[in-house]
């Protein structure tokens, strides 16, 4: 009888181990926010971390997402504004950030400073002191390849960024339209290879208005991707974007994260860390029991520069 109990217990143990193992080996995307040494920057970093945690698609990732806030107690970040002689372009000590990105083994390293307004996005995002919460996600989404869906407006901007216009992004594209389209099908056929989000445009959504290229605003549901004029250099060159409404890549106030944006972010995350085992459905409380809620760890001081192993064992949690 004891033998039987032993076997049953070990079976339960190994099944638990098996179930756990698929979670333990699950890919985990790591975002670190590194706050300048002042208390205000640290508070901002926690605010930003919470915004990320609760935003689409991060809110659906559970423990496949790790967000950690670090406090630059040694003052090594040294953020400044006016990088590359561009007013309001924030930048911080890149040598330090690169070292930390490697030491901590994180996928995104975001610097946070309360001393300047503005924000930068790219491979090295920097967040300044802005009351608009959406800017956090706007800059973070830039790191996944999403371009601006707002229009640059001044001649200075035109000269700096649109002449020549940059290569296409995953959510903005330069397409020189023909003067006449005989049908929606013809337009689709002509441009399907140019539109990065073409497969996300429903067959019922028209990408022409009359005989001209472009979806008419307000006809199709705002959540449905189409081909709308606008974004980046649209004022000077024919630039197109997937949505007409206030998306997070267009505005930072009352802005929405659209399904395409979310999908692009997930694709890039998976390419970096391997397949995510499960994502909670967008509009359902159901979830994979292996996925627990994302936790924000924080208040951790600078890890040693030469630390190479798991940061959790190396840093001192703040009191």
């Amino acid at each position: 009888m004891n033998k039987l109990v032993g076997i049953i217990l070990s079976t339960v143990f190994f099944f638990s181990l098996f179930l756990f193992s698929s979670n333990a080996f699950a890919a985990r995307f790591k975002i670190a926010l590194f706050a300048e040494r002042d208390q205000k920057s640290l508070e901002l970093a926690f605010t930003f971390a919470e915004i990320i945690r609760t935003a689409e698609p991060f809110r659906r990732m559970g423990n496949q997402l790790e967000i950690v806030v670090y406090h630059d107690t040694r003052g090594e970040l040294q953020c400044f504004t006016g990088y590359l002689d561009i007013p309001n372009l924030l930048h911080c000590n890149s040598d330090f950030l690169e070292r930390m990105q490697d030491v901590l083994g994180v996928n995104r390293m975001i610097a946070v400073t309360s001393r300047f307004p503005g924000a930068a996005g790219g491979s090295r995002p920097v967040l300044g002191n802005n009351p608009e919460s959406g800017i956090v996600l706007h800059e973070l989404f830039h790191t996944f390849g999403l371009g601006d869906e707002y229009d640059y407006t001044t001649q200075e901007q035109f000269r700096a960024y649109c002449n020549p216009p940059s290569t296409n992004r995953s959510n903005t594209v330069l397409i020189r339209p023909f003067s006449f389209y005989s049908s929606n099908m013809a337009a689709r056929s002509l441009h399907k290879n140019q539109i990065p989000w073409f497969s996300d445009i429903k067959p019922t959504t028209l990408i022409i208005s009359g005989s001209k290229l472009g979806t008419t605003e307000g006809i199709f549901p705002p959540q449905d991707a189409g081909l709308y004029r606008g974004g980046e250099c649209s004022k000077w060159v024919p630039t197109w974007k997937p949505y007409y409404n206030n998306t997070i890549m267009r505005s930072v106030v009352q802005a929405e994260i659209m399904p395409l944006h979310s999908k692009i972010v997930i694709d890039v995350m998976q390419a970096e860390i391997g397949e995510l085992i499960s994502l909670k459905p967008m509009n359902s409380p159901d979830r994979d029991p292996r996925i627990s809620e994302t936790r924000i760890r924080g208040g951790l001081s600078n890890p040693p520069n030469n630390a190479r192993s798991d940061s959790e064992k190396r840093v001192n949690p703040a009191k």
């Binding site: 039987l4 076997i7 070990s10 079976t11 190994f14 099944f15 181990l17 098996f18 080996f25 590359l84 561009i86 309001n88 372009l89 950030l97 990105q101 490697d102 083994g105 996928n107 390293m109 307004p117 503005g118 924000a119 930068a120 996005g121 790219g122 491979s123 090295r124 802005n130 009351p131 608009e132 800017i135 706007h138 800059e139 830039h142 390849g145 371009g147 601006d148 640059y152 407006t153 901007q157 700096a160 960024y161 940059s166 995953s170 990065p196 505005s251 930072v252 106030v253 692009i264 694709d267 890039v268 998976q270 390419a271 970096e272 860390i273 391997g274 397949e275 190479r308 192993s309 798991d310």
Partner: protein, 152 residues
């Protein structure tokens, strides 16, 4: 009773064999961090060559695509291919400033320094000498090269 024991043992062995079989077929990957200096055309592997305990993870399926891959990373050792993979590397630096009307004002510039991370096979790091190359997929232009020699 014997039947019950037999069933439990079979389940136990089944689960054990699943666990046991998973490892040999799934390559171990480690997260690597890279720096491309497009002005100097240098590609630097920031990650140390030695794999840290607990860093390697196994992936049984091919690594997914970002669906916007723009570069190819090639790793060779003494000229022999070790690993290659198409990747997405952000080449643009954006800057934004909310205006008084809460509209965004900003722009973008080509980022001279690009930091990116990708999984690479743990086995690649066991090679004493590694050469790296990052190539633009659309132009086939080499964006940066680099080398790591464990003996140096």
């Amino acid at each position: 009773m014997n039947w019950l024991m037999l069933c439990v043992s079979a389940i136990l062995m089944g689960s054990l064999s699943t666990l046991g079989n998973a490892a040999p077929h799934c390559p171990q990957y480690v997260l690597s961090t890279w720096k491309l200096d497009s002005l100097k055309s240098t590609l630097t592997l920031l990650t140390p060559l030695k794999v840290q305990p607990g860093r390697a993870q196994e992936y049984c399926r091919p690594l997914p695509s970002s669906n916007q891959d723009n570069v190819e990373l090639e790793i060779t050792s003494k000229g022999k291919p070790v690993f290659s993979r198409n990747l997405f590397v952000n080449d643009v630096l954006y800057f934004d400033l909310p205006s008084s009307e809460s509209e965004l004002v900003g722009g973008r510039v080509v980022d001279p320094i690009r930091i990116f991370s990708t999984l690479i096979p743990e086995a690649a790091l066991k090679q004493p000498v590694l050469e790296f190359r990052l190539k633009n997929l659309s132009t086939q232009k080499v964006l940066g090269t680099g080398k790591r020699d464990a003996n140096e």
